[in-house]
């Protein structure tokens, strides 16, 4: 088992009591590193499940959303002196085995941020959204919304800063910010498992999709 004391795995979670424990345990089985679950004001027993699985929990007092939770984790990682941060979803979609590839890509210096991509997943709506954003932002990555990523310290520092605080989603705003700072982003193919519980937070309601598309489009246009 590889020992990476300077790696931390960040898992933003909101009401994922049924899957978060397994996700944490599987990561511990794969590699020796700290696992941090950022609890976005869950009203079930997500926090307890994460703690009993052995994770560190950062309990948010205000609902910040996925990106706010990830940024909390990045700030924690920076204060703990970690060199690499990996983000994963709490619903079991991202395989712990995929972490090695992402970490290796960052460690080798190929990129400042690596996205674990799986374009086979996702509804038509998601694919259409990707296509639209590729057009208006000029970013040519395939899987723009994957939450399975690894960041090096340079990327972490930029994304933990005040400039990145008002981003509501981790997708376009983050990618555009990285591009403007001249940081390198690459994609690595990973196998993703079907969601064990729940549905997409964004792509299962037309109103939420509309707000997401509008907000992200404005960011693409304003921050190009």
């Amino acid at each position: 088992m590889e020992n990476h004391s300077s790696i931390v795995v960040l898992i933003p979670a909101r009401n994922e009591e049924s899957t978060v424990g397994d996700v944490v345990r599987k990561i511990y089985a794969e590699l020796h590193c700290e696992v941090v679950v950022i609890d976005d004001v869950s009203d079930d027993s997500t926090v307890e499940a994460a703690i009993s699985a052995g994770a560190t929990v950062l309990p948010l007092s205000v609902h910040l959303g996925a990106w706010g939770a990830i940024q909390t984790g990045l700030r924690y990682a920076l204060t703990e002196g970690c060199q690499i941060a990996v983000t994963m979803d709490a619903d079991g979609q991202h395989p712990a085995s995929g972490i090695h590839d992402l970490v290796a890509t960052v460690e080798s210096g190929q990129a400042d941020m690596v996205i674990g991509a799986c374009i086979q997943r996702g509804s038509r709506a998601r694919h259409v959204a990707w296509m639209i954003f590729r057009q208006i932002s000029g970013i040519s990555l395939e899987d723009l919304t994957s939450g399975f990523r690894a960041y090096n310290r340079t990327a972490m520092t930029l994304l933990a800063s005040r400039r990145a605080t008002l981003l509501d989603y981790q997708d376009m705003g983050v990618l555009i910010l990285l591009r403007r700072a001249g940081l390198r982003v690459v994609e690595r193919q990973v196998e993703m498992c079907p969601r064990k519980s729940g549905t997409s937070r964004i792509f299962d309601s037309w109103w939420v999709v509309f707000k997401y598309m509008l907000a992200s489009s404005i960011l693409c246009l304003a921050k190009r």
């Binding site: 929990v57 309990p59 910040l64």
Partner: protein, 127 residues
């Protein structure tokens, strides 16, 4: 004898100024925002006492009905005010998020038995 409408607007202007100063005194209104409102109060006072000012400004611009300038100006000021309020809210949103994040870092719970017990008893004393 000053015309009655001038009395009304002068009193109105002074009333607005008085309300604003009272709100500041009682800590309901931050002095930053009071400046804007006091300027409004002065504007009401001045335009009330010298309504001819509107005609003075309107004629060189070829406005047929000068009072409409006043309406347009007021609408413009309202829009500016709303925009500055949104800018301020955005700033507050950023601060609030960062504050919540720092608090979460401070209140971190470790997944080990001893630490958890220690943290949970410690947490009972926090507000």
């Amino acid at each position: 004898m000053i015309a009655s409408y001038k009395w009304v607007s002068s009193i109105l202007g002074l009333l607005i100024a008085g309300v604003i100063l009272t709100l500041v005194r009682r800590d309901y209104l931050h002095t930053r925002y009071a400046i804007w409102w006091l300027c409004i109060a002065i504007g009401v006072l001045v335009l009330g006492v010298f309504p001819g000012l509107v005609d003075l400004v309107g004629s060189p611009f070829g406005v047929h009905y000068p009072p409409i300038l006043l309406v347009i100006l007021c609408l413009g000021l309202v829009l500016i005010k709303m925009l500055t309020m949104d800018l301020e809210r955005s700033r507050h949103e950023r601060e609030l998020r960062r504050l919540a994040q720092r608090l979460a870092l401070l209140e971190s719970l470790k997944g080990k038995e001893a630490d958890r017990i220690e943290k949970s008893t410690h947490q009972k004393q926090l507000f």
